[in-house]
Symmetry: D2
Subunit: 261 residues, 4 copies
């Protein structure tokens, strides 16, 4: 398997940026070589999103991805909540869902269909995985959201001068846009869902997981309830666990076969 | 010489971030080995700032730095103008002038005096080099500013809804803070100079260069004039050239011996 | 924690070479920060050796190393069996045990005592960990050898034109020197042990582990028996497992607290 | 442009190995964007070989390569003279001329014709560029050899126990095979030339340059004379210069347009 660090110029960010990538090689260039029903077909792609405080890193098991012939693309989204913010160059959603998809498909010849293009994230990246797949459902056929920071309703209630223990009001405004307009903004996954329903558009397959001891469990339960109410088909699981890599490794390993098997 | 890519957690940015680094090795671990009057003393440091659209990269000649026993630290400042912005985690000036200096000194045992700690940048990084050295003059003894984007006076005049061909108002507000308050802000190098004079504080040594065909030449001439008016000692040179790496390579090579020789 | 890729000139290899490194940061530069009885003392070092077909990579858990304030240095030894071979530049043992130790201590200010300098490896790297610690017992206080390729007795029996399914005679000659002289060569860990006993020199602490289903189990049992016969104190454990990362992760996690706790 | 570090498993070397790569991006992912007659056609490839003591590094000007839409692949060949040696895994020529070409074409979709696949090297890499192109003339349409270490005739004269100031006999035997058989070995570029003539095979285009003050000038003049004698068409230039990067940068910049223009 090939491990890559790629630096390229992003128009959405208006600057050079780097991402990590893993490509399962042709069995001839791998040790031990993997050859099965999956490795005969074009390589699929998993976009992998980090959380707040993190940066682009391949936190799934490369051997498991190689088994399903899945390339992993792990961009750095800083702490931008994987959204298109209000200032020039602060366009993480479009960078991810349009630019990076196009770039890696062209540069590495990866599969181009939505069913072969999946997105998974943890915490802030779980929010990002849901949001990106709902914003670009013709691109991403499946998304997996682990311990997701589904904080859009809290943010929508923020007033100038407020904020929380994580960050100030300006930070949230920068990422999500004017909080007072978030209810009806494309930065709000609930709004995107309502729009998709209105247009009778195809939804991505949705996989969600959260630990029962995670401080974000209520946010995840609420979003699960919202999906139920809206009649959006999805997989939702809870398991023993907190907001840590132990939980994410376990559920990433469970969702990868469901997405690519 | 050692070429490093270092990833660490930055408190100022509230996330993992990477920088590139070059360390001149002990002559025993270099080929060809360099041994002279400089290599006997503790290794000095040059912080190297990229411009708008760029990212952390060692754009000076490592061989020349090795000759003067100078380590190069090239952080990524995104398009943040190397300033402390208004939102949580948007603190590039403090990240650079406090955190990164402390981090690399501790991790790599570099010289700790201001005369052995210099900063150089190009374009947006030229602005950053001047600003950082003026904000932390007890840390940085010398700064070299090439083709500097000294746009603080334009930014100070911006009104909500405005902006320019490079970026929108929100971007400038995010980097510089409220433009209407920039005249008397620590993000304004002219304000920092007035403050240093008031406190009779020591100034860093200042080296400036700009190409006569550079679109930023007038901004550089104005800042040079401002320094003259204020009686701040500095070196200012103009040379044939535009806003490109040819000019920056030439003047970096000229200023390195002046700063470290 | 800092993840580094370092390129430097090795005199032993006569060329530029790269290694990976992990440094636990000062708690102020880590997220989440770790602070305990270990993080107050100078940072210790674990040299980590890969197996045949591998290259330098941090295959231990960085979080566990950070807890014990241990920096990890993972050099690339190609398929050289971590030995000083017969041709110019083929000096992996001295590169590792003399040059690299000195280089990383000087560059990163790591602890200098043998009890704070340990070495661990898997497969060919398990052989290397034992061999290096026995060759430089004043440098390495402890070694951990996982599923070690203790093939020195097979190699000693090889004749010109022979070899095995892994590699040809020339390969073994290149790594181990003339097989017919291997019985009494510093490339033979058994010979090193006899020499240390003769000189009544201090032995490194030895930790060994091998999976009961590993194809190298008999080689490990024989070396264990040899250590018993020679009266060399050591820890030897067998566990369910084969020659794979599952076994190595489990036993690395067990030996790290024993070496650094 | 994309800068890559790629790690993959090489069957020829029997281990993981890394190479550096530069890919000129689609103009949409570049800043400043380059668009001309070349950027419309499939991306060409330049394999770039380092010298003795070096390792894989992009030592040509990426901007110039981007102009001609040329990807650069810079493998690490250790000090192996880019030849297939005698021991298992010591197969740098086949790694380069068969495996790596196939791997990068497949992974990055590069042009597949010999006229779009060129090879250039300096010193030991100059020898390698000539040798590889002559060994695989159906793959490499053009080669550029700078200050080449054309030492095959010296090596052919070496006896057991001899060697020179650079390395011992064992080293040369490891790289070139039994010196006494080198006259009629595929590791000898003169032998390859005679074979190509015998088979009336197509030759690669050959570009050679050497500095008049280079310690290898006589070796280059002799090989030039040999090519003349054999009636092999080639470009041979001498210029003021020694065995250093100044000369190599100058002549790389001259040969790139001749190879790709």
């Amino acid at each position: 398997m090939a491990n890559l660090t790629v630096t390229y110029f992003s128009n959405c960010l208006r600057r050079n940026t780097s991402f990590k990538m893993f490509i399962p090689n042709d069995p001839r260039y791998d040790w031990p070589p993997i050859e099965n029903e999956y490795t005969k077909r074009p390589t699929k792609t998993l976009f992998l999103l980090h959380g707040y405080t993190g940066d682009g890193d391949v936190w799934v098991n490369p051997m498991q991805c190689a088994e399903y012939n899945v390339a992993v693309v792990a961009p750095s989204g800083e702490n931008g909540f994987w959204l298109d913010g209000i200032s020039t160059g602060h366009q993480f959603a479009t960078m991810l869902g349009v630019e990076l998809v196009d770039y890696v498909r062209k540069t590495f010849g990866l599969a181009k269909t939505p069913e072969d293009t999946c997105i998974m994230g943890l915490s802030m990246g779980g929010f990002g995985a849901l949001h990106t797949a709902l914003m670009f459902p013709e691109t991403f056929g499946k998304c997996a959201a682990l311990s997701s920071a589904l904080i859009h309703n809290e943010v929508a209630d923020m007033k100038e001068g407020s904020g929380n223990e994580v960050a100030n009001y300006e930070y949230y405004r920068e990422c999500f846009g004017d909080p007072s307009k978030l209810k009806e903004s494309v930065n709000n996954p609930e709004y995107l869902i309502k729009q998709l329903k209105e247009k009778s558009a195809k939804f991505p397959e949705i996989f969600m997981a959260c630990g029962t001891e995670d401080f974000l469990i209520e946010n995840n339960r609420k979003f699960h309830a919202f999906l139920e109410e809206e009649g959006v088909k999805h997989t939702y699981v809870e398991g023993k666990g907190i907001h840590d890599m132990v939980f994410w490794s376990e559920y990433a390993a469970k969702f990868i076969p469901e997405m690519f098997g």
